[in-house]
């Protein structure tokens, strides 16, 4: 393995019987010597064995006990990165019958680094495991398990966290048995079919299939969130308020449109009992005296004031002239009935 070295420092001055490791000759008295990794050299011999020049910046490469300048060493020995074409000094990735800088070895589809995560050869390309699985699924229509990266027999894959896997990589949350493709998801946990059945999966009131994710309980039934819809417009309520009538659920708009019981005071569809009076409808709690807001019911004695209810107390406090007219109007209306 070639070694990159720092410059060797002068080791001292000539000693009688030392000989240069390069030229095998002895040193003159007071001649400077160079010590390079334990070898004693003439200063003139401490040069690149290829170009015989001193090392620029003192940087040299040693191979087979011979010293090279950077340029010659790369030309003679260093591998070239297939991606960027430059020499690879340091860690070399040898893959796909070529050399790569670790940072240059990337998935050909998603460009994720492959140096540390491993790669798969796919039709002459280096791919990450995920892209390879996708490619395989694209080509064959079969799922590749994201856990072990092998094919999953048709119809036996489990979609978990959005990715296809062999069910047997997981265990039942309840009994810990290894799962097969009949396993079920409930919230975020996986269960074997037996344990799941024991928990009683609710059946959707619309499609009659089990509700495995979010369940809506309404009208005495369970529903898939997206199957609990307005009986008129068939739009899902998605948690919005709905109005029940004869076992069917309606959105506010269509409940109002179809059944028309809108409270004159709050202008909302009336839920529960309806007070029907004076050609209008009211929520029970909104049928109040127009003068003092006191609660009224159909048995309370009230006067009609422009088709609004006015309690007896309020009526008594009205200007005399108005009282008379109200009374007269009531008598006329009474006689018409």
């Amino acid at each position: 393995m070639p070694v990159q070295n720092e410059i060797a420092a002068p080791a001292g001055y000539g000693i009688g019987n030392a000989i240069c490791a390069v030229c095998q000759e002895s040193f003159g008295v007071d001649e400077r010597m160079v010590n390079s990794n334990g070898q004693i050299l003439h200063e003139r011999c401490f040069v690149c064995v290829q170009c015989f020049q001193p090392f620029p910046d003192g940087l040299f490469y040693e191979y087979d006990e011979r010293r090279y300048c950077e340029e010659d060493f790369q030309t003679l020995f260093a591998p070239c990165c297939k991606q960027c074409g430059k020499f690879v000094i340091g860690r070399v990735i040898k893959a796909m019958q070529a050399n790569w800088h670790p940072d240059c070895f990337r998935c050909e589809i998603c460009n994720d680094g492959l140096a540390d995560s491993g790669f798969v050869k796919n039709a002459g390309r280096a791919l990450c495991k995920k892209c390879n699985a996708d490619e395989k699924t694209k080509k064959t229509g079969r799922y590749v398990c994201r856990k072990c990266h092998t094919y999953i027999p048709e119809g036996e894959h489990l979609m978990y966290m959005g990715e296809p896997v062999h069910p047997w990589h997981y265990n039942c949350f309840s009994c810990n048995k290894e799962l097969d493709h009949l396993c079920r998801k409930r919230d975020t946990e996986l269960y074997c079919l037996r344990c799941h059945d024991k928990m009683g999966t609710p059946i959707c009131g619309a499609c009659r299939r089990p509700v495995e994710d979010r369940v809506v309980h309404a009208l005495g039934k369970a529903w898939h969130v997206e199957h609990f819809v307005c009986a008129k417009c068939e739009k899902p309520f998605y948690g919005h308020r709905y109005y029940e009538r004869k076992g069917l659920a309606y959105c506010e708009t269509h409940y109002n449109e179809l059944f028309g019981d809108i409270c004159f005071e709050c202008n909302k569809a009336i839920v529960g009992d309806v007070v029907n009076a004076l050609h209008k409808c009211w929520c029970v709690q909104h049928f109040t005296c127009v003068g003092c807001n006191v609660s009224l019911n159909l048995r309370s004695k009230f006067h009609e004031f422009d088709m609004q209810p006015l309690c007896k107390k309020c009526y008594e406090k009205m200007p005399l002239e108005l009282k008379k007219r109200l009374k007269k109007a009531e008598q006329t209306a009474g006689s018409r009935k």
Binding site: E265, H279, V290, C292, N293, F305, D306, C314
Partner: protein, 222 residues
Amino acid sequence: MSKSVKKLVEETKDQGYTELDLCDKSLNTIADIPGLTQLRHLVRLTLSHNRITSLPESIGALENLEFLNVFNNHIEELPMSLGSLKKLRHFNAAVNRLSSLPRGLGTASGLEILDLTYNNLNDKSLPGNFSVMKQLRALYLGDNDFETLPSEIGELRNLQVLVLRDNDLIELPKALGNLSRLKELHLQNNRLTALPPELGKFKHHSCADSQNYMTQDGLCSG
């Protein structure tokens, strides 16, 4: 002001009640009730059957007010700040002494029921911007002094109830025919000699619905 009023206001504040009923408390004004306009959470304020002559501008601070009832008082003028009560839905100022309405009223654009029965309002009383109240479902103007109505009234498209009885109306604007949701129209005791034909269309259309109601007993014969 009686001690009980002060106590009621304090209690409302301390308990965070959203309704305050000061009905029949012999009040001449509410401007001197300490802390009343600081009840920011108040949703309903009932001041019926008092002798209040005006409402203070500071009532505009009751920003959560949805129901304001000043039925049967002596109010002659309403404050501009009424228009800043953006949540106000039901305002009852019937049986008062109003001869004008503040410009600000139109900007209380959330109003659904506006009761101005039995006041001294006339053609000049309606603020120019009253047709901005697009949410208005019921408008009570009975027992006033209107001789005509502006045609902008036809822009209140949500109007279901319009009471105009006991005024001095000579004619009605054609635009009334635009009020396609109208179910109740009270016209008795005016000086009307004819209804605009546009209204006849409405009448015909709406009579198909048994809920609709139209009184025209007071129509003069000629």
